[in-house]
């Protein structure tokens, strides 16, 4: 009973906040509504039994992706009112994308009716892990049977990191950075000069 109530609460809030994401005029408000949608999606994931995915949604999507969206929104110098003026012009494209997503939903429901997914076991022969928790079952599959996908995820992360650094990092010439190894390597005899100037004459350094 409580589960049914919680499901309808989370589902309603997801849809409502998703509508606000696309309807609100201020893009910063859109991002904040997106965070609400992520939280409620995490609640739905908990209800369906995918606890690890739920926690990932909160940690990664709410904690990191939403902040990144906020940065992008605040960094871009775009007149959003002007962008929204093309709503009618881009309407057919939007409808096309929505139709593709609906088709995916229908296919997903059809696949779910075809029976449970048999993802298999770590080595493909042993009995499935039935009494283990969600996160253990994910780990048992991800790091043995699907390890190629896992390693490619690591490569993609590496590419993303290097790409972001290459695109956004600039050496700033106007600031004088501290070079610690140069400081440490300095010896007293090259740091100080002992001179005995004659009376009445200056010192040339």
């Amino acid at each position: 009973m409580i589960q049914v109530l919680a499901f309808y609460l989370f589902a309603t809030l997801v849809i409502a906040s998703a509508v606000f994401v696309i309807m609100s005029r201020n893009p910063v408000h859109s991002v904040l509504w997106l965070i609400v949608a992520f939280f409620n999606a995490a609640g739905l994931m908990v209800l369906v039994g995918a606890e690890f995915i739920a926690m990932l949604l909160v940690i990664v999507y709410v904690g990191a992706v939403a902040v990144l969206f906020l940065f992008v929104v605040m960094m871009l110098d775009i007149d959003f009112a002007e962008l929204r003026a093309g709503f009618i012009r881009n309407f057919p494209l939007g409808i096309a994308i929505a139709l593709v997503l609906v088709a995916e939903l229908v296919l997903g429901i059809g696949a779910e009716r075809a029976g449970a997914l048999k993802l298999g076991t770590p080595d493909g022969t042993a009995a499935p892990l039935m009494d283990r928790s969600n996160i253990e079952a994910i780990g048992a599959l991800l790091y043995s049977r699907y390890l190629f996908l896992f390693e490619s995820a690591g490569i993609i992360l590496l590419v993303a990191m290097i790409g972001a650094i290459v695109l956004t990092h600039r050496e700033r010439s106007d600031t004088r950075r501290q070079n610690i190894s140069k400081q440490v390597k300095r010896r007293p005899d090259e740091a100080t000069i002992n001179v005995k100037p004659e009376v009445g004459k200056g010192v040339q350094l």
Binding site: L68, Y143, A153, G154, L157, H169
Partner: protein, 124 residues
């Protein structure tokens, strides 16, 4: 089916927190509406006396370096997220699983060394 009864206290806390925050937001609004005078006027929102209209949008642009910090944070956040299922399922995956994770970590250590060497982790 997963036992969801452990999540009931969280749901109750969530309801209490939402009720409290709603009260904090709407109670002052309601009290102010009921007790205060409500006389909106365009002049009240205009620039006062010698003030002048704003020259530009108050939301100034961010430095792109914030974005770099955020994306590095996301990447290492995801790396840490991959560590959790690995740590609890090592008894099933064994040494192959351990070596898999070490290769994954080595990939990201390459990126980390690159970021460090390029000075992407420093502000100035």
């Amino acid at each position: 089916m997963v036992d969801l009864s452990q999540y009931l206290p969280i749901l109750i806390f969530l309801a209490i927190a939402q009720g409290l925050s709603a009260a904090f937001v709407f109670l002052p609004i309601g009290v102010a509406y009921l007790t205060g005078a409500h006389k909106p006027d365009a002049e009240k929102l205009s620039e006062y006396e010698c003030g002048f209209p704003a020259f530009e949008d108050p939301r100034s642009q961010f430095d792109v370096r914030f974005y770099l910090v955020a994306i590095l944070f996301i990447i290492f956040d995801l790396e840490a997220a991959f560590l959790f299922p690995w740590a609890v399922s090592l008894d099933v995956t064994g040494w192959p699983g351990w070596i898999t994770m070490m290769i994954f970590l080595a990939e990201l250590v390459i990126g980390f060394a690159y970021a460090w060497k390029k000075g992407a982790l420093e502000w100035e």
